[in-house]
């Protein structure tokens, strides 16, 4: 812990801190470009010069390249240092165009700030400036190379940190071009980070192009709702339109970066089909009337059939506050205990994990620090993209990654991948503990023994699981394995708040029981809060819902269930209201509401022009947070304090009220909790000649919220079925051919894609929204018949 003095202020910093970081801790602003906390220092921009006056290092040095040592006396205001900085920034600005007024970075431009901070206020260079022809980099990022100052941050982010190989730097000397070999879409799923990381306007957000300046945008730190990792994001809105999402900083989860699904999948909040008014039987009405009507209908059902005839389905998309009030509501009125996930498999997986995770919990920061990772049934780039980035960092630090998965798992780093059948995952996990792999072929045995051996040797091993593929049984086995191997555990779950729902539902009933009860006519009223049983629930949901007398849906997106609701109450989208999510490692992460809901100005119908008449009422401002609707029904005060107070009586949630949005959050306290009773799944009877079909998540197009985003439309994959070349050859199918796929309920026409790295004998398809594939449960094996052609269908 060296102590050094900068500008006559002393500070003690941890070993290995560089002088620039030490100065930043002291609040001293020193211009810099190439240094970035996540990327490290390379001393390339020559801008952070400081004068080292006394101590082990002497003279004018780049602060980012000098490790802080005891007894250093440093001056940032030394005339020589100041002069050097002002010259360096002037060189950098030589070719920079005077186009700040038409640049989207203007106002939040590090170059603007650093130029002024560096002491270069007026351009002396009157010569001609270098220009470039830009490349089209796809639907997400706009390039404007004229503005480039060659700091290399983009390349270091894209290639080194994110592992992309289609973007880089070309040329040499004063002629450097940062781009692709040929114009085209940036292939990395983390390409949007170029926007955040570029200190000037070379890379800007195409979806945000020319929309708003930094000072006009309404922002609040929030938690990404598109997977279970809980990355910190900062959504920004103007004129009631969610216009962009940028990465927030949370050193425990996402660090400094986010994935493109998180950044460009925000369009759901502005979706044109979003219903923004309460309605009864399809007719728009007021909140007061809708709630009166709801109470009346609910009262009637309760009077006639008793309180147990009312069932409630919550959702992993809902905030913890909403889920807590749901539980209270059912307890107060004696309704059936609520469900927080309608997908039974995901529900049980989350509950088993929440009950047992305890000390085995690891954060993404700890994954990046791990020295041995074993991935089981996890495909991070498709299921939880930021996890892939954490794994890459671990690999960069010398970690070995082993991956067992039926799919062709692609990682942005080196990994040894063994394709296994989905049902082999469980024996593999048990085998890792016992180091016995009799059920596997000889070659696979060797692979697995190697993995087990590395796991035993590792100091900070982590088992990474994909909840969808592992299922409840696999997760339970993985939990046991992690405990007996004394390894960390990191399992991705179904939704952003699956963990919170799991903690609240404990060993309560599951959706199978509820649907069964509904089919037997015991349930007469169903209350869906941001849940969509018709899409996500068991196949029998439709029949069960047909027997209801009252279906109430509170949601901010239109889905199958919402369309058939008797009473629909509009709720706010995640960026429109505050709340708390608990991510898959049990970290409580509060988020703030960035803006108040309302119909975007652009959609009001005057061609984007604001109306000329002034009004106190926000058009389309009716949506309310789901928790607020519940609080109104419960006649509770409309603030979080009482909800948090109620939750904190449960030891899991200790300290919840102290957290604030944008912080690192806090892991839930490990306290005894009952997991649901084990219930083995029985495979469907497979018809003759059928193949197992595994439906999985994809990076784009399968997550319910982001798939509504128009910005992602160009990157949503085709509806295809993946199969191993040998399987394809056996069926006489070639790559790119249209095939017909029959399941018990559906008949689809898809494109066949051969994939050499996946396991033979299995079909894999993405659960694309808006196609019949979305009705197939994720992670479950569905037997199906695959035929060539399918033109008759």
């Amino acid at each position: 812990m060296p102590t050094l003095t900068i500008d006559n202020k002393s500070i003690t910093v941890p070993d290995g801190t560089n002088v620039l970081e030490a100065a930043q801790r002291l609040g001293i602003v020193i211009p810099h470009f190439c240094y970035h906390e996540a990327l490290g220092a390379v001393g390339a921009c020559r801008l952070c010069a400081m004068m080292f006056e006394e101590g082990p290092v002497k003279g004018l040095q780049m602060a980012c390249m000098v490790t802080a040592q005891d007894g250093m006396q440093i001056s940032t205001l030394h005339p020589e240092a100041q002069e050097l900085r002002s010259h360096v920034i002037e060189w950098m600005m030589l070719n920079h165009p005077h186009d700040c007024p038409v640049c989207d970075e203007g106002g939040e431009c590090q170059l603007q700030d650093m130029t002024i901070a560096g002491g270069h206020g007026r351009r002396r260079y009157a010569g001609k400036k270098r220009t470039w022809i830009n490349q089209d980099l796809g639907p997400f990022v706009v390039q404007e190379m004229n503005r480039c100052i060659q700091c290399y941050r983009c390349v270091r982010t894209y290639q080194d940190y994110c592992g992309g190989d289609d973007f880089g730097v070309m040329g040499s000397r004063n002629r450097l071009f940062f781009g692709r070999f040929q114009p085209g879409k940036l292939e990395s799923p983390f390409s949007g980070n170029l926007v955040d990381v570029c200190p000037t306007g070379v890379f800007t957000d195409k979806t945000f192009r020319f929309k708003t300046r930094y000072w006009d945008i309404e922002e609040a730190p929030a938690v990404c709702p598109h997977c279970s990792l809980g990355c910190t994001v900062i959504p920004g809105a103007r004129y009631r339109e969610l216009q962009r999402v940028r990465a927030g900083v949370n050193r425990q989860t996402n660090g400094f970066f986010i994935c493109d699904r998180s950044r460009f999948g925000y369009g759901y909040a502005n979706h044109r089909e979003r219903i923004r008014q309460p309605n009864c039987q399809g007719a728009a009405t007021s909140w007061r009337e809708a709630l009166e009507h709801l109470k009346e209908r609910l009262g009637k059902v309760v009077n006639e059939y008793g309180p147990l005839s009312v069932a409630i389905v919550g959702s992993p998309r809902s905030s913890l506050e909403c889920q807590a009030l749901l539980r209270e509501w059912t307890r107060e009125h004696g309704y059936r205990p609520p469900l927080f996930e309608i997908d039974n498999r995901r529900d049980r997986t989350a509950r088993i994990l929440a009950a047992g995770l305890g000390k085995q919990a690891r954060s993404m920061a700890e994954i990046a620090d791990s020295d041995c990772l074993v991935m089981l049934g996890s495909d991070p780039l498709n299921e939880a993209p930021l996890l892939a980035l954490a794994i890459r960092q671990a690999v960069r630090n010398g970690c070995h990654v082993t991956c067992l998965d039926p799919r062709a798992v692609k990682l942005p780093c080196a990994a040894s991948h063994l394709p296994v059948q989905p049902e082999q995952l469980l024996p593999a996990i048990n085998g890792l503990v016992a180091n016995r792999f009799e059920e596997f072929e000889r070659q696979d045995q060797l692979f697995l023994e190697g993995a087990a051996e590395r796991l035993g040797r590792a100091e900070r091993p982590v088992l990474v699981g994909g909840g969808d593929l592992l299922g409840p049984e696999g997760t339970e086995a993985l939990l046991k394995a992690a405990r007996s191997l004394n390894a960390g555990l990191f399992v991705t779950l179904g939704g952003p708040n699956s963990y919170g729902g799991a903690l609240l539902s404990e060993d309560g009933p599951d959706s199978e029981e509820m649907i069964e009860a509904a089919l037997e006519g015991e349930i007469k009223a169903l209350f869906c809060i941001e849940a969509d049983p018709l899409t996500e629930g068991p196949a029998r949901s439709a029949r069960a819902l047909g027997q209801l007398e009252l279906l109430v849906v509170c949601d901010h997106m239109v889905n199958r269930t919402a369309r058939s609701a008797d009473i629909f109450l509009p709720t706010t989208a995640p960026p429109e209201a505050a709340g708390t999510y608990i991510n898959n490692e049990g970290r409580m992460l509060p988020f703030g509401g960035a803006y108040a809901p309302g119909l975007p100005l652009r959609d009001i119908g005057e061609g984007g022009h604001p109306p000329r008449t002034f009004s106190n009422i926000t058009t389309g401002g009716e949506p309310r947070p789901a928790w607020a609707i519940l609080a109104t029904l419960l006649q509770r005060p409309l603030d979080f304090d009482s909800i948090h107070h109620g939750l904190e009586s449960d030891p899991h949630f200790a300290g919840l009220g102290l957290l604030s949005p944008g912080g690192e959050g806090r892991r839930v306290t490990d306290a005894g909790m009952l997991p649901p009773a084990a219930q083995p799944e029985f495979p469907h009877s497979a018809p003759e000649g059928s193949l197992p079909l595994l439906v999985v998540e994809a990076l784009f197009g399968t997550e319910p919220l982001s798939s509504l985003s128009p910005a992602l439309e160009p990157v949503i994959p085709e509806a295809a079925v993946q199969l191993h070349p040998t399987t394809a050859a056996r069926l006489g199918i070639s790559d790119g051919e249209t095939v017909s796929l029959r399941t018990e309920l559906e008949h689809l026409r898809l494109t066949a894609r051969t994939e050499a790295e996946m396991v033979p004998g299995l079909l894999v398809a993405y659960r694309l929204r808006g196609t019949p594939l979305e009705l197939l449960p994720v992670g479950k094996i569905t037997p199906c018949l695959l035929e060539k052609g399918g033109n008759d269908a």
Partner: protein
């Protein structure tokens, strides 16, 4: 040198056996990137310069992305990403050569060849390029053609060299 595939009549960047050799080498090395310069030079030797298709071929051969090849190809000025004459004259314009009459040599070459820097003679024989240093300051002024460095250039010497090369080619 065979530059046209006899069966397809198209430009061939590299004979198939050379590609296979590189592919085998790439499979053996932990970092195929180290073969980039060799492969690009091989293509250049064979084809004269490296077109986009050459970059793509090299990328595919080494299992890398085209960009990773292009990064290297555009970095070195001795790898030509645009068509050049059959012989490329790299004339040093660094300080030592400049002080010993580099400018006059440049003038002379421009006159003799009838082209400016970066241009190719109409007969496609010579391309004239400046280069920042050839490491031949002791023999300044210097130029390099192919793999040969010529020092202490004078008008007569240049005449002789150009004539010899033309003769070789013919």
């Amino acid at each position: 040198m065979e530059t046209v595939n006899q069966t397809t009549g198209k430009d061939v960047l590299l004979p198939d056996d050379t590609i296979e050799a590189f592919r085998a080498k790439a499979a053996d090395t932990p970092h195929p990137r180290e073969l980039i310069v060799d492969l690009l030079r091989a293509i250049q030797d064979h084809h004269g310069w490296v077109p986009d298709a050459g970059i793509e071929l090299a990328a595919q051969t080494l299992g890398l992305s085209p960009l990773q090849l292009e990064e290297i190809a555009t970095f070195y000025d001795k790898i030509y990403r645009q068509p050049v004459g059959r012989k490329v004259i790299h004339l040093c314009d660094s300080i030592c050569c400049w002080t010993t009459g580099g400018e006059q040599v440049a003038e002379l070459l421009r006159d003799k060849l009838g082209i400016g820097f970066g241009e190719t003679t109409p007969d496609g024989v010579f391309t004239l390029l400046p280069t920042c240093c050839l490491g031949a300051c002791g023999d300044a002024p210097a130029m390099m053609i192919g793999l040969t460095t010529y020092g202490r250039l004078t008008a007569e010497k240049i005449d002789t060299i150009l004539r010899e090369i033309r003769q070789q080619i013919d």
